[in-house]
Symmetry: C3
Subunit: 161 residues, 3 copies
């Protein structure tokens, strides 16, 4: 079995099924686009193993605590890895993460976006190690996210030529 | 005539004139920057054929409906294509879209950012086809956009070497 | 002495010390990541020479004026340059800036994000010149930024092969 997927299993983690798109919505874009050696990853939502968007919905600092936000950010990472595995065939093709833009659906006054997005960053570094897993990052609070999800992250990475 | 521009004409669409910068403002950056094979596109506003920023201004969910937001996102795409045509000489040089970050100026509680940014994505896929037009995307709601425009999108694409 | 650093000195500017991370916080990502010829720069905060985050904190349009926001954006640029100098060894290795995403922590109704982020763009173009310093850009208003800083900017650039 591939190295990263074996590690995911040892950590008791899952790769979610493709996104269950909420009712009637068209998504005229791809979750993962490969152009040369660079891989562009669409903004992902936190996902459960069955492909559904994770609950609860709402704002961190109101409907969700910072700790729940952290778990959501981790589930966004798993959602990305599911789509990457389907697109790349093998997560071991990833030669290095580049950048992630983490966006938190914040309640007024909630500015602890850094520890929330750490749920994503710590997963990636643990899985891919300090070299391949290294990435730059922003973690900002936005006014709203699609479907009122609490965390959305987009990212860029590289694969072997 | 170039293929993409001919298609635009058949679709009854226009490439807007360069942006009419609102009074007194300096823009110390470029709308399109080419570095090697990668093209970086600044955040663009919806534009009319004469180069002016499209009206109405304001927030989607308040001053604009979601349907008006969709039209604005499409006009952001046309604005980008105008700048790309001026910078690249020929839109047929585009070998593949990579990623778009769509930002919607949202009224409190408006979370239908996905169908709004579809106005952009559907234009790009229709014009460039499912291979070259494929892109990853985020569609998020921000607190405010410059000049109080309703939609702003930035993007990355690739050209032939 | 390297050209860009000499220019910074002539302009009376400084490269800040590494970020003094606010109490107890883990940052499981890197401020600068080099992948091939592309350099990804994390969202940076405005920094003082000693590495501390610049004050005042808060929202532009409330706790800070647009002019103070401009100065903050310039200090975000210096913060990036400090991390780039440490990672690259020499700022003269930068062959071209690509893109910057400028995010302003805005008070309700404040939409002059363009002149605020100009503090960053004008610094980069002055230091690197119109060719290497050219970049595309977005300047948007977000709901909140980490630690309640007023301006955060992330960027991408290229170095010589």
């Amino acid at each position: 079995m591939a190295k990263i997927e074996a590690k995911l299993q040892r950590m008791g983690l899952y790769l979610p099924a493709p996104l269950e798109v909420p009712g009637g919505l068209t998504l005229p874009f791809k979750p993962v686009v490969v152009r040369g050696n660079t891989v562009y990853i669409a903004g992902h939502a936190p996902q459960e193993p069955d492909g559904s968007i994770s609950k609860p919905f709402g704002k961190v600092g109101a409907e969700l605590t910072a700790e729940q936000g952290y778990e959501m950010a981790k589930k966004v990472g798993l959602s990305m890895l599911g789509d990457l595995a389907r697109e790349l065939g093998d997560l071991d093709r990833i030669s290095g993460w580049c950048h992630a833009l983490g966006m938190v659906n914040v309640a007024p006054g909630f500015s602890s976006t850094t520890p929330v997005i750490n749920g994503f960053s710590e997963l990636i570094v643990e899985l891919f190690g300090p070299q391949k897993g290294a990435h730059s990052r922003s973690a900002v609070g936005v006014a709203v996210l699609p479907f009122d999800i609490s965390v959305e992250i987009e990212a860029v990475l590289q694969i072997d030529g």
